[in-house]
Structures are given as structure tokens and as C-alpha cells.
Amino acid sequence: MLHLENVVSGYGKIEILHGVTLDVRTGEVVSIIGPNGSGKSTLFKTVMGFLTPAAGAIRFDGREITGLPPEEIIRRQISCVPQGRCTFPHMTVKENLELGGYIHRNRQEVSRALEEVFAQFPILKERRRAVAGSLSGGEQQMVEMARALMLRPKALLLDEPLLGLAPKVRGVILDKVLELNAAGGTVLLIEQNARRALEIAHRAYVLELGRIRFEGPGGELLADKKVRRLYIGE
């Protein structure tokens, strides 16, 4: 569904990704793990169109999306949740979600999507009138995920959704990812937290210094001695 081929990307003259090839198939959860500064967020920004690759190709749903601006990529139904808090803090939960349906042209579609999202995240329905900035970190992360789902995406990209969350809340977020996947959603999960990310992934890639170092089924990487030693710290 999402296919990257030899993607080279970075910031101006600084090259960060030196030719990354990876695949995300329909219905999969694919994780990308790697240490700080390995280029995970750079990969995320490149797929979403915030950065233009210097070389290589990105295809989604059989079509080339290389070099398109973010709004065009999002129009092709890829949703994303960037790293770090990204809600509109002074707006209510409901307003945040409605803005998530921005590209839907008509109101009915937005309210239908809102109903669906509230069904998936009942806690947000309860707190719909609360100002997003007053929610806990975990709840805000859920607002961001729910907001991304307002687009009814074919694929969802998450950049370190567990960052700064307590272990219990991390479990809740990952359960949501699994739930989405069970309902047929395709997910690309970028995570620092290697063990958790590998546990829930069908397949995974290890990114290091802008190159794919290992790849394989999540369970296999989790069992791999080298991967365990290098990225899980055993």
C-alpha cells in the first residue's frame, strides 16, 4: 500500500536518509524503530510531504506521491500524528476533531466521521466540551489519533505516540492501534520504545544513521540477539 524506494532526504544540503526502501502492505502494522537522531522523524516528514526527497520514489495505493505537498498527500487518505503535542490547546476536543475533518467538504460527512470516532474513543465523547489543553498527556494523544481518523484514512502514520506517557497509558494507546488494525486499518508506527513496537508489529524495520539496518517480522526481530542487545538493551 505504501512503498518507499531508495528514498534520499534531509534538510537542505544535509542528507539524513541515505536510500531507504520499505513496504507497508494493506492491513499491516509496520513498526520503525531506531535510536535518537537515526532519521525516524525525517522519514515521517518525507512521506507526509513536509520534506521533498532528493532521490527515490514514494508510492501510495499504486500511485506516485513523491514530492507532493502535505495537503495533497492527506487528500489521498494518509493521516498522520506528528511527534510531540500537536492539538489546538485553546479549542475544545470536539472542535479539534471537527478540524480533523477539514478536507471533507460537507458537514454531514464530518458529523458522521465524528460519531464513528466517538464510538472508538468513548472517553473523548465524555470530554468533548473540555478544552484540549486541559486534558492529560494520554488523552491529548488520543485526541490526536482520533483527529487523524476523522479523515477516514487508508493508512495512519504515527510518530512516537508513546513519548512522555506513563506505562499504563502507553498500553491504552497501543490497544487503540491494535483495535484500528483489527478493524482493517493499516498503520505505520514509528517508535523509540522498541520492545512494545516490535510486540505489536506484523513486520518491522530498524533504522540507524539513515539506513535500514534490519528488517523482518516483529516477533523475529524481537527474538534476534543482536537487535535485543542493540535496541532493547539486554
Partner: protein
């Protein structure tokens, strides 16, 4: 307020504004006309900067361009007032879009500095294009001595500006502008083409500013670069908006009326030191009413004004 009561208030206000000039003469009529112009200028500034959060420090550039295009067309080409004004609006709109292409990609203080530099550059350019503008000598326009005409033209434009802001507030476009102010990256992540939306608002504000400039030139009958490109005019638009409450429909109106009336009174009473009082007032507003006078009044009702509590720390 119920819809009926709102419409009634609006109707009474409008009737009052239409009837008002017939009860005023000379100086007072000029003052009210001047105040209406500032209500419109502050609202126009708010239309772009108040909603998007991009602080335009050089709005006077478009005001001045509007004044000069109108004046030059009337004086040098013999065009009559309204066609000249229309041309000024169109030209300033194009100028705003051209300026927007490079500057609307930069944020924060850099945008403010770039717009300030632009307004200074347009002033120098006007000074130096003396073949067209007569440079520092200034331009004399045909005299049209009809205070009612200027009152009603400015009233009409100001009503149009306020109505435009009121309309935009309710549309997707308005929500988009607010989302850019709140978190531009977040709105891009939702598929908003933030650049295009900023361009549209910036271009529109350029058109309105130029229309005021053109009317002002004809009204004053004499303009010079130092006046119609005066940086203090930019500052005044900004101060009026923040005084009343930026990002709200009524804030700039309240701010313009309060500051306009206050400076007028203080100036008449303490001609030499009135600016000190104005300065104290501005500092006091920033310290005690950060959301502005109007913002403070509606704080409890308006959702946009609600202050977010810090997020509880989980770890």
C-alpha cells in the same frame, strides 16, 4: 442575545450612524469620520493579523500605496475618484500577494521585521519616484469640499470591512485562519494549505487598507510620503486591536473608539504630554487585560478566550 434583539441593535446603530452627520458640523464631523476610518483600519489589521497571529508591522505600506495610486491617477492621468480608488485597491492587493510569497513562509519576529522593512521601502520608493509622485514635495489632489461625502464613503467601507470579518468568522476560511494561529503545523497535518489561506487573508487586508488610503488622500487633498507611510499609523492599528482584543469581531472596534476618543481628549487637554498618558494606558492594558478590553468582557462566554490549564503531568 436573541437573534431578533441583535438585529434590532444593529438596525438602531446603523440608523444612528446614518443620521449622525446631520447633527454634527465642522470639526466634530471630521473627528467622527476619522474615528470610523480607524475602526476600519484596526478591523482590517485584525482580519489578517488578529486571526492568523502573523503580526503585520507594515500595514501602512498598503495604505500609502492606495493613497498614492489614487492621487497619481487623479492628478497625472485625470482619472476620476472611484475608478482611481478601484485601481488602487487592485494594485495593493497584487502587491500584498507578491509580498506574501516570500514573507508568509517565515514566522514570528521575522515576519514582523519583513513587513516593517517593506513599508519603509515603499516610502523610500515613493520619495524617489519623483517624476510620478513629486517626491518629498507631496501631491495636491483636486479639492472636493463635501464632508458628508467622505463620512458616507468611509462609513460604507467600514461597514463592509466589519461585515466581511463577521462573515469570515463563520466560514471554514475563518476557522482555518484561527487554526494557523493556534498551531500551524497541526493544521498542515490536517491537510490545510496554510500558505494559500494566509495569502488570501493578507491580500484581502491589502485591498481594504489601500481603499482607506485612497479615500484619505482625496479627503485630505494633500499627501506626502512621510505622512501616508507613517510607521506610527501601523503601530496605531496594532495598538487599537490589542487594546480592544485581537482575534475578535468587536475588539478592534472597541479599541479604536477607546484609543481614538482618549487621544483626542488628552491631546486637547494636555497637548504636550498626552502621549505619556497613552503610553501608560497601553502598558496597563498589556499587564492587566492581556485579552484586551472587549476580550476581557467576553472572557467568560467566549470559548476562544478560555485559557487552557496546564496538562497534568503523567510521569
Amino acid at each position: 442575545m436573541a437573534r431578533g434583539a441583535k438585529l434590532l441593535t444593529l438596525g438602531v446603530l446603523f440608523a444612528g450612524l446614518v443620521g449622525l452627520p446631520f447633527f454634527l458640523t465642522g470639526y466634530k464631523l471630521r473627528f467622527v469620520t476619522w474615528l470610523l476610518m480607524w475602526v476600519g483600519l484596526a478591523s482590517t489589521w485584525n482580519l489578517f493579523s488578529g486571526y492568523t497571529g502573523y503580526i503585520n508591522f507594515g500595514p501602512v505600506a498598503f495604505f500609502g500605496v492606495g493613497a498614492y495610486v489614487t492621487a497619481v491617477l487623479m492628478v497625472k492621468a485625470g482619472v476620476s475618484f472611484f475608478p482611481a480608488l478601484l485601481a488602487a485597491g487592485v494594485l495593493a492587493g497584487i502587491a500584498a500577494l507578491l509580498l506574501g510569497v516570500p514573507t508568509l513562509r517565515i514566522r514570528g519576529a521575522y515576519f514582523a521585521i519583513a513587513t516593517l522593512a517593506f513599508s519603509e521601502a515603499t516610502r523610500s520608493l515613493t520619495l524617489n519616484l519623483s517624476g510620478l509622485t513629486e517626491g518629498g514635495k507631496g501631491l495636491m489632489l483636486p479639492i472636493y469640499n463635501n464632508a458628508y461625502f467622505f463620512y458616507f464613503v468611509i462609513l460604507g467601507l467600514t461597514v463592509a470591512v466589519v461585515a466581511t470579518v463577521a462573515f469570515i468568522q463563520r466560514t471554514r476560511f475563518g476557522i482555518t485562519l484561527v487554526s494557523i494561529r493556534e498551531d500551524e503545523v497541526a493544521s498542515q497535518v490536517l491537510g490545510v494549505n496554510t500558505f494559500l489561506n494566509k495569502m488570501a487573508a493578507f491580500g484581502l487586508s491589502g485591498v481594504f487598507l489601500a481603499l482607506y488610503g485612497g479615500i484619505y488622500a482625496y479627503w485630505q487633498t494633500f499627501i506626502e510620503p512621510g505622512e501616508v507611510f507613517n510607521v506610527l499609523y501601523s503601530v496605531q492599528m496594532l495598538v487599537m486591536t490589542f487594546l480592544g482584543g485581537s482575534g475578535t469581531l468587536l475588539g478592534p472596534i472597541v479599541g479604536a473608539v477607546v484609543l481614538g476618543a482618549m487621544t483626542e481628549y488628552l491631546w486637547a487637554t494636555f497637548t504636550y504630554v498626552y502621549l505619556i498618558f497613552v503610553g501608560v494606558l497601553i502598558v496597563a492594558t498589556v499587564l492587566f487585560l492581556p485579552d484586551g478590553v472587549w476580550g476581557y468582557c467576553v472572557q467568560t462566554q467566549s470559548r476562544r478566550r478560555r485559557r487552557a490549564q496546564p496538562a497534568p503531568v503523567l510521569e
